[in-house]
Structure formats: C-alpha cells, structure tokens
Amino acid sequence: MNVALDLFLSFFKIGLFAVGGGPATLPYLMDLTRTRPWYTMEELANMVAISESTPGPIGLNMATYAGYQAMGPLGGFFATMGLVFPSVIIIIIVAKFLANFSKNPYVQAAFSGIRPAVTGLIAASVLSIIKVSLFTTDFKPIWGAIAVAAIVFPLLQVKKLKKLHPVVWFIAGAAIGVIFKL
C-alpha cells in the first residue's frame, strides 16, 4: 500500500481508538513498531523525549514525528491529519446531537472500564520503553542510564521540583550523558 495512505489510515485508527489523550496513543505507536518498518523502539523513546520537551500537545508531536520517520515532512503531515480527523467528526456530532454525552450512564460505565485499562496499557508501553532505554539489545544493563532514571524519579516526587518543565530534566540528562559518556 502507498505509504502516505497507510500512514493516514494507521493514525486515523489511533485517533479513533486512543481514549485518554496524548499518552494513550503510546501503546498504539508501539503496535506500529511491530507491524510497520517505520521506526524502532529506540527511536520511539527519542520521539517521546522530543515530544515532551517541545510546545504543543504530546499526542500531536508524537504523530508528526512518527510520520516524519516513515516518509519525511509529508509523512508527518499525513499522520497528523489522520490522527485529528476522527476527533473533528466525533466532536462535531457530539456537540450537535448529544448535549449530555458525558453524563450518559452507559458512557460513564464504559469509561469506568476504559480508564483503568488504559492505565495498564500505558504501563506496559512504559515497560517496553524502559527495556530499550536502560538495556542493550542483548539485555545488558546500561548502568549510567539506569542511574539517571533512579535519581530523577525520586526527585520528581519532591513538591518544589514537580512543577519544573520536563525540558529541564532532559537538559540535565543530556549533560550527564555527555559528561560521563554514557
């Protein structure tokens, strides 16, 4: 199939089924590493870092990046358009016909199932990202990166540091990486 069309349709599907905003697209982006030759798990981890540290919604940034990896700037365009297309249609229908959509008991019941499931899905994606980020392809630990993660995570729980922009952490991580030649 034509790559542009394939990108548009793949991201259309993500836009249609990713419930819970940007991070909820992550499990789908990971599905694509298995089914399409567009990017690897390592590249996905880089995409996450860049999408979190640039302005704009994370989901959109990741889609643009993934599309770019697949077929350059136009790929980014097709992936992003595919991602937002279902939203535009669904929201217009909901806004026009379903005034109390979010208060409908069946919608709420469906979400009482979807929300915990999405948490599980994202947790599984994060585990895969950890696997490629902190271990080499033959499963040897990369101690430097593990140390960075082990230091940053507790710091993120400190109240004063919580509000820091992710880009601050990325810059610190990059500096440590360069200084210690990780």
């Binding site: 940007g22 499990p27 979190e52 535009v88 929201i91 948490t119 990166a145 990486g177």
Partner: protein, 187 residues
C-alpha cells in the same frame, strides 16, 4: 466577510495556544480560559469545563477535541476545522524542523551520549506519568484488577491495543448493567 474574520481569529488563537503550551491537553486549560473566555468571550467558563469533560470521554487527543468543540460552538463546522488546523500547525512545523536537524546529527558521538542520558530521564518521567494516572483512575478493586490484567496480557501477548480498549469498555458496561439489575431486584 465577518465569518471569514472569525475563522481566521480562531485559527490564530489556537495556533498561539498550541505553540505556547507545553505538556499536552490538560496543561492548556489556563491558556484556553484566558484566550477564549476572558479575552474573546467566545464561550463561557462552564462551556469550557463541559468541553473538557467531553474531550476526555471521546477518543482522540484532548487538545484537539477541545479545539474542535470550541471552534464549533463559536462558528459552526468550519470553525471546528479552522481551530483544529491552528492547533496542529505549531506541532507540524516545530517537530518537522527538529526531526530534520536530528537526522543530520544522529550518528554524532556527542548526540548519542546526550540521548543515552535523556532516555534515562524519559524512563523516570514515564513511570511518573503512569503513577499519577494510576492515582486518578484506580479507585476500586475492580479498577486494579482490570488494570493489572490488561498490563499482563499486553506484556505477554501481541493482542492489538484496540481490542483491549473495546473489551474493557464492554466489561465496564456489563458491570453497570449487572449492578442496576441487582439493585432493581432488591427494590
């Protein structure tokens, strides 16, 4: 002509919002409130909150859902489309520029070291995302069981994500139906 002006204003407002907020849909709330409610008066604060509620329980990126909803309320279907295009523009431009630069330097030794450090940070931030998501979404035993079951299935098999989301929605609805029946029987 007046309509065209509104569409342009919507495009421009959402372009600014998309280009100036970091951290995704939820981080945009204060910015949206300032631009749309206080400055332009296109929607009321209650409508904005509703819109967030709807944005969170419809599929897709929350920021896009909000943009479409606000645009639609202000200027119909075209308004929804122009707002969404505005929101999309900064991501397309910025990410394409960064990806192009990175591609050129990808095999640079220094960049590789920097990326190794950054990936350590990504892991910490992602674990933190899951942690705060879990605090919000896992409020009862049922939630925990479903979450752990989905996690286990996801790690051990290659079942597509779509299937798991649909199945979990059906489970949620079935439990609701079951509970209401039980209550009806009691009464």
């Amino acid at each position: 002509m007046k309509r065209f002006k509104i569409l342009w204003q919507l495009y421009w407002a959402f372009l600014r919002i998309g280009g100036l907020t970091f951290g995704g849909g939820l981080a945009m709330l204060p910015m949206l409130k300032y631009e749309l409610v206080e400055k332009k008066g296109w929607i009321t604060e209650e409508e904005l909150i509703d819109c967030y509620a709807i944005g969170q329980c419809t599929p897709g990126i929350i920021a896009i859902n909000t943009a479409t909803f606000v645009g639609y309320k202000s200027a119909g279907i075209l308004g929804g489309i122009f707002s969404t295009l505005g929101m999309v523009t900064p991501s397309l431009v910025i990410i394409t520029a960064i990806a192009t630069c990175l591609e050129k330097f990808m095999y640079n030794e220094w960049l590789q070291h920097a990326l190794a450090g950054i990936r350590g940070v990504v892991c910490a931030l992602m674990v933190n995302t899951v942690y705060s998501l879990g605090k919000k979404s896992l409020k009862n035993l049922f939630g925990w069981i479903l979450c752990l079951a989905v996690f286990a299935v996801c790690v051990m098999t290659n079942i597509p994500t779509v299937v798991m989301v649909i199945v979990s929605a059906v489970i949620g609805i079935l439990i609701h139906v079951f509970r209401t029946k039980k209550e009806a029987n009691k009464a």
